[in-house]
């Protein structure tokens, strides 16, 4: 855990005032995770796109462009190693992350792989409240499964 004080654009017209962050080592890189509130405090074009960690020295990681981006990227990377997942959707409510993973139908082997991956992911970020739902499409149109305000990470 490392405390930072930064402002970073989260979407057009918003910047993030972070409260704290985690640096997490993963195969393939170091990821930065921010918890905080997205607050409309400055026009998009005025918001800084990067920051420096106090103490100087080169940053060991690339700061993500958005709050969700780093979470979604790592979670998607983990899940996409599993064959059979049709869609992944994510929504962030304040500091609460919700993920929906859509699979064709009940499949214990596939489900267990998903739970193993997501529970392992949650272990790395115990401070982030996280909710996972594995949804069974059962012949329905994939696009009909679209929780409000969730955005699609995959495909």
């Amino acid at each position: 855990m490392r405390s930072l004080s930064i402002s970073e654009p989260t979407s057009r017209g918003d910047i993030l005032i972070t409260e704290r962050s985690d640096l997490v080592e993963e195969p393939g890189g170091t990821y930065t995770f921010y918890l905080g509130a997205s607050t409309r405090v400055a026009p998009h074009w005025k918001a800084a796109r990067s920051t420096e960690v106090s103490g100087g020295g080169p940053l060991p990681q690339t700061l993500s462009d958005t709050v969700i981006h780093s979470i979604e990227r790592l979670l998607a990377e983990k899940l996409l190693k599993i064959q059979g997942i049709e869609r992944i959707l994510i929504r962030k409510d304040a500091d609460f992350f919700r993920a929906w993973v859509v699979i064709p139908d009940v499949d214990l082997v596939l489900e267990d792989q998903i739970y193993a991956a997501v529970l392992g992911f949650m272990d790395k970020f115990p401070d982030i409240p996280f909710d996972l739902a594995v949804l069974f499409r059962q012949g329905k149109d994939p696009s009909s499964i679209q929780p409000a305000r969730a955005f699609q990470v995959y495909p």
Binding site: D112, L119, D131, Q138
Partner: protein
Amino acid sequence: MPNFADHILQAGHNEEFYRATDKNAYSDWAVTAVYYAALHYIDSFLATIGMADPGGHDVRDQQVRERAELRPIGYLYFRLKSRSRNARYYCTRFQLAELQRCLEGDLAAIRNHVLPLARP
């Protein structure tokens, strides 16, 4: 506030509801009864460690994920929770064989794991 015994009774009550339900017509509520039986077995354990009321699914889920006593049955609990959510919010229906597996497999494993831990 429900205590250990109350939660055990409620878990059994929900299992009875499952058995009384027409599972061909109401597989959605049948699987939800199984899930809420599992939830009360989890809560029976939490009641014995001073958490009489988790106050919400997010807190209970976190306990299931993080407590060493509950982790071994975490994936069973979350599997049931997802089935109930599919049934309630996404109009999913389940085959009788899957309902029975949920009852005799996942729920039985949760009950057998939690009861020895939770008995005050």
